[in-house]
Symmetry: C2
Subunit: 125 residues, 2 copies
DNA sequence: CTATTTTTGATAACGTGTTATCATTATCAG
DNA sequence: CTGATAATGATAACACGTTATCAAAAATAG
């Protein structure tokens, strides 16, 4: 990642502007506004480069290909809309009494929460 | 699923005995004790049949192929050991104030929690 | 501006997990 | 017990997301 290309700028910008994790195809689509003709290979290449540079981070959800979001956010969880399948960011609200729920001898290093439901945009319809 | 084969019995038994979600290969391995010569195709076939019959249910974790567990358990979450990569069942301890964390207009239908860490067996070593 | 070298886009190839195929074996109704 | 047929095991084929290949285009140093 040594040259500053319009494609990479578009991809970076799309991920920052989204405010929610995007999958590779969502990145492609969102970036094509700024970078016409952008190809999927370039998206994957740049996602990998931006991950290595820690500008973005990977968000894995059960049973789905990875999504990516701007790096450096505070601890948060995600909401996945059952209708449009978009994933949103959830601030605050974390786990309370994890320790009590654990079998003896188990040690926690991290956790993740995924909330399913219908987002505001879809509920409106 | 009309005939009662030793293979299907072995698979059912392995999933019940495990007490934790097993992946397809774990099912294969665990079942081969009771059903020598068992093949992976039969495992996949029977997993599908048992799912349809609602005897087992699918457990999806981020970035991993599905696991399966006996159906009909109470609401619970899972713990994945970073070392041995086994997944355990966690009883109790559920989310508190989900509603407050949601953006306006979002509706929750369900949620899932995954705890990462080291299991008792691995911590001992 | 030019030469060098990275990056790109199209697409073939890949890896992993799962499903289809098909000849053989096992179950079970009669 | 026997015939009909469902189920099995080996393995080829598939699906999907991702990576590799390579000629052409674009970025940067000088």
């Amino acid at each position: 990642m040594q040259r500053d290309t319009s494609q990479r700028r578009a991809i970076r910008r799309a991920l920052e502007a989204a405010g929610r994790p995007l999958g590779a195809l969502e990145v492609l689509e969102a970036s094509q506004a700024d970078a016409p003709g952008l190809g999927i290979a370039t998206v994957y290449r740049n996602i990998k480069a931006l991950l290595k540079a820690k500008e973005i981070s990977e968000v894995q959800l059960p049973g789905e290909p990875p999504r990516y979001e701007a790096a450096g956010k505070d601890h948060h969880h995600h909401f996945r809309c059952d209708r449009c399948e978009k994933v949103y960011e959830l601030g605050g609200a974390c786990l309370p009494d994890l320790k009590n729920a654990l079998p003896r001898g188990f040690k926690v290093s991290s956790h993740e929460v995924l909330v399913h439901g219908v987002c505001a945009a879809c509920a409106r319809k």
